[in-house]
Symmetry: D2
Subunit: 420 residues, 4 copies
């Protein structure tokens, strides 16, 4: 590749900068970290390759890393999620090489991943473990120089733990997703709002009075369930874990198998981290006109090949909708090709939650540098005190005061002598 | 005007037709009416001028009227709310003259209203009483031939009742908004979802954890309040009516004056049908960065001139956002120029509620024809049985069975002899 | 009857007074009216017979009427709803004759009604139209002297309108239930909380995760549905009115027939004003262990004779629960003998809503006196301005300020000349 | 003590048995365990002393342990929480010695604890670590024979971990509260409903429209917050943990310090496990008439001595309410003497959640026996598979089917080779 970036159009840079500035106002924690990074330069000279959704919030993270001294390259973590104007702004104003074009082909997508590896990163920053996968499979020569990696998403962490279990993860990884200030907020409130936003933008269908099925009841999926209910839908949850299924029941949702649920569904959304959550059995019971989509990381949660095999043809009644005409006369509407609907037809997670997620990312990269050589290979969490600090900064930025333990209370909590 | 339409681009017609077809699936009641109209032709030869938001749902209403025999002309009821592809589809495929261009100037807007009057309508169909106003003020010659008018919106009905009170309303008007199947659904569920949709599309800000102020607690505004709460916001309501204020309190919202509320607000939305609900007093207490917008019919609910007078300059950080830089350093973000935010930055009410609203419109126009000469001048409601029939058709289309009174129950309800 | 009262035990008077005082703190509007009544004595010498649930709130209303000059007699409007200590307090401290004993037999109940008529009332105050019924059927001699009657409840108003339709209602009646400050609050928030309170006290069953069926979607029943959902239940609504059924659907509830719903129900509550809402057809599909109860005025909503006919025996596992052992082996639990569950096993509506309902009652009795001879026979509503005043007093007592229309806004609302 | 029990009245036994039977229907998981215990007798001859709230659910647990072969003694874990009829039923029908009388003095309370120790238990079962505390402080001779202890509540676990940290916990303890099927359900849904139930029974005040402050946002307190909101209150949360405070904010609650919150509060409830959460600073800002209570384990969360020091006198307007008349004229209402309000004025957690909590208790005692000699001293959790089994049994009993992983899905979750 002769030029050091691959984006749609540099002329979009000004619009991208405006969008980044707008997002930045909702990211006060990252701003405070950026100000400290500017003074302390904790990442001085470190090569960082980031494979993330190229959004205005990611733009602000990249800027933070660069101001902290890192040599940053950014590549898309999903063919559909790139905001081309942000990509342009990073190239034009921040001089950060970006390889990401909205709607890029699978081939180009993998070329871009490769560009991330070609940067010879010392730190990789992943949203789905693609760069880690690339390092291990294609560029084992990089392993020796690796400070480590950071991972954003539930799906990536599941994948990394599987690697660790298999003994192939030969450098430390920080599971940013483990931080409370990440998964309790980004996954729940971020995914919740943005998934519904994506569905509404794609379909413009009223949710009130509709039956809405959510596959899974982890943090992402319960965020989706809560927002769907908040918009007036009648929500059904499917699960494989009895404890979560019981929680969903007690939270007032109906719980049943996906096959049973599909027969009632006007909408089905998956966010499980698993494969083929909507499959042949669900298609068999689905109502005519059902809308299905995915908000989990990978586009494998819906078994699209099985759907295609059942169909005579595929039409596109609106952007982001593929309407499958089944042989039995039913039509099933698949949104965003089964990819993350909140990024495909909306703008991804709102800035206010990415603020905390990316504060974790920034602190995780600093943590890898400060603890270089001290961390074992495998998956680590960020220390709890960094997590609490991020939450405290966020509250402060929101103008919220909370109680502080009195000396008497500290003593009480540490004692066990007082009786009833 | 030499050609019989004024739209943006005829080439958008195919996209508009797809969009109309997609909407039509959510409009089963209107479909059933259309099928009957096609057989019965109740509007044969009647000239109808409609001044409505030109959306995919309106497109389906126009088609219904035309199939029912009417000679229809459609003009925009708002400079920002036109879907140009739908306008094109109506011209290209339905041969209905449309005068509407998204973003048209005020001059063009009034030219288009004039085009509606030039059609010499026997029935006018309004969303804000603009055609009625035009007939009375500019084309009194039409009055003698008028079957009457139908009115869609709360604001229009307020205006028409004021006209009736002043004795100037010299033909019958059907207040479609009075129908339960209109205001209980369109105003509440439609405005609720679409207003939040508009705000999120315009700003991409997370609502969870934000303070969200709703001006008013009528059907529209309580729909907005409920959806904002459903998205995790902490909602404050302002009202002028003590009964509604008390309802809002008992529904768990904080209630206070707009001046008090503005000091807490991250967002303020108005939907009152009144003027200058956000004014100088509210601007004085607003936080830096506050987002304000309107979902009421007219763009007078926010006192924009007062805001401009307080400002040094105005920037546009994102499409649909005007950011006012106040002399005291605060920035206030106005969305969609103070016009209906659900139409400015989203797609208006979802089809499923417009289905019932436009079923009322279609039946109201038929009612005017069938009762020509029998209705007094002034504001009328549709008969209750038509209202109930629309609801029953909707339930049927949704596959929902409800109970039917037994003979014993009918007798019981009509009797007063049985004791405790 | 030799003594001028019939209560359980005068020794309960002190406890009753404490309970009335506790309630009074939540009744600021009635307090303000009482203070005015004390000064103005608008009911001087008027004989009032009230047939109401004898609760602490009713006690405060009786006191208000007496302070306003009325000669008051109070009788129970339901055999199970009397608070014996309040009855005692009224006799002992307020010298108001009371005829009411919790758990009284049907015979005693009718004796008490008769005692109310024996007072030769000029005004009757009803909760279910029993005194009006008695006057018309048994004491027509009273009619000539009647100022009129006031009626508290939906059921009573239905009954009175039936009487008016039949032409037998030969004096004016104020339908207090028509006031917004009555039915929007008492019926919705009062019935909602107190019905769930009654069910929980009777059963101590966890609602989270249960399927809860509500018969009806009027103000009472939607209050119940909302609170059941608020406690974590999955709620199903049954209706006979398509418009209300559609509202329930769009509010996110499942809607179906009672027969269909009974198959899913852990709980069924009726509040419809109708008869045999739970009947043979519902019993046929009910699950073993289902709990059924009623929160409508009369104990006819559940067809108890049909249930008894299906049963081998009846046991009482807890107070207020009759467990029917059906011939097919299922057990069905009926609460409070099918009478108003919020009064049978709880304390009726909380004071804060009765404050407004009884403010309406007090003002209605004053209205009857002030307009003696001016009102036509039949059912009347209180004037809207009294309604608004009650709401405004309540807000003031809660410390809530609301906006007041500016001169500019008043003019705007009365004008129709301003355009888009 | 000459007789081997100390209860209020043996004649209450039949009523107690009915209540236990009613509860048992909501406890299917415990029932299945009881059936297995009857066959397997895993606790044969083991002496178990249980210090728990003596409720109908506890009665069913005791029965289960006895059927499993244990020699059981039950003593009250709180002076106010005993259901005297259940105590009688256990003595009369199950021949289980019980030492518990509702309203017992502190002296009697400690005598009863002593009776529990006098049984020379091999297993203690605690709800607040009182028996463990007694063994360690007063009966160290028992330690050598101890299989271990099980602990029910958050507060007890905090206390036990403090003991372990201090090195004084010289036998194994199973923290039943750690089980997902305990703390996710009992603490959240059980405490939520029963706390509100207790408050409503004690006060009969309408929650809709009231400001309700919850101290804490752990599992118990968020359950309370959710139910208070579900009943129409406007909820404020106080916290000391920034992460939880932020969650509460994003869940739509206002968050502030207790001192700030008290100024708005109509109700304040604490459930933190900490001491003096409501103290001098909160009293200083409280509104006249504020209702305060506690739902945490110990009655130390409210600083009652400080309240008494500010007061001129104390009255009792209703059972369970102490009304403090402050020197400055305000009145503050304390419920249930600051003890667990859901047990003081209601019936404790509903059976359906205690089913799972006590299933954990039963399995924990079996686990201690089966692993005798294998567990280290200190605090242990139950194995995850027992937890999942309990949830699965519960779902089965509720008639709910959930999905099972396909072979393909199991492989996918264990693999990391598949890409985007």
């Amino acid at each position: 590749m002769s030029k050091n970036y691959d984006i749609k159009d540099l002329n979009l840079a000004e619009q991208g900068r405006k969008r980044m500035d707008w997002a930045e106002k909702e990211m006060p924690v990252l701003r405070l970290i950026r100000e400290r990074f500017e003074a302390e330069r904790p990442l001085e000279g470190i090569r960082v390759s980031a494979c993330l959704h190229v959004t205005s919030e990611t733009g602000n993270l990249m800027r933070t890393l660069a101001i902290g001294g890192a040599e940053v390259v950014l590549v898309a973590s999903n063919p559909l999620s790139t905001q081309d104007d942000v990509a342009a702004a990073l190239v034009a104003y921040e001089e950060i090489p970006v390889f990401a074009i909205k709607g890029e082909s699978n081939d180009v997508y993998y070329q871009h991943i490769k560009a991330g590896l070609d940067h010879n990163p010392q730190i990789t920053m992943d949203d789905g473990a693609d760069l880690v996968h690339g390092v291990l499979k294609e560029r084992p020569d990089l392993i020796a120089g690796m400070y480590g990696s950071t991972e954003e998403t539930t799906t990536g962490v599941i994948r990394l733990r599987a690697m660790a279990k298999d003994g192939v993860l030969t450098f430390p990884v920080i599971a940013v997703n483990d931080s409370d200030t990440k998964h309790l907020f980004d996954n729940r409130y971020g995914t919740g709002q943005s998934t519904l936003d994506g569905i509404i933008r794609a379909t413009n269908i009223l949710l009130a009075g509709k039956t809405f099925v959510v596959g899974g009841y982890g943090y992402c999926s319960r965020g989706i369930a809560e927002r769907a209910r908040g918009l007036g839908a009648n929500v059904i949850v499917t699960e494989i874990d009895p404890v979560k299924a019981l929680e969903a029941t007690m939270d007032g949702y109906r719980v049943m198998t996906m096959e049973q649920a599909a027969a009632y569904a006007d909408f089905i959304v998956t966010a499980t981290g698993n494969k083929h959550v909507i499959d042949q059995r669900a298609y068999a019971t689905m109502k005519d006109g059902c809308v299905i989509c995915n908000s989990g990381h990978f586009n494998v949660e819906i078994d699209i090949p099985a759907l295609e095999a059942m169909s005579l043809e595929k039409r596109q009644p609106r952007t982001f909708i593929d309407q499958y005409w089944l042989k039995d006369g039913r039509k099933i509407n698949l949104l965003g090709e089964g990819r993350l609907i909140n990024l495909a037809s909306a703008e991804g997670h709102p800035s206010a939650v990415m603020d905390m997620s990316f504060a974790n990312q920034a602190l995780a990269s600093e943590f890898l540098v400060r603890n270089h050589g001290k961390l074992s290979n495998g998956v680590h969490s960020l220390p709890k005190d960094l997590d609490v600090e991020i939450a405290a900064l966020k509250l402060k930025a929101m103008g919220i005061d909370i109680d502080v333990l009195t000396a008497e209370q500290v003593e009480y909590l540490n004692s066990w002598q007082e009786g009833t």
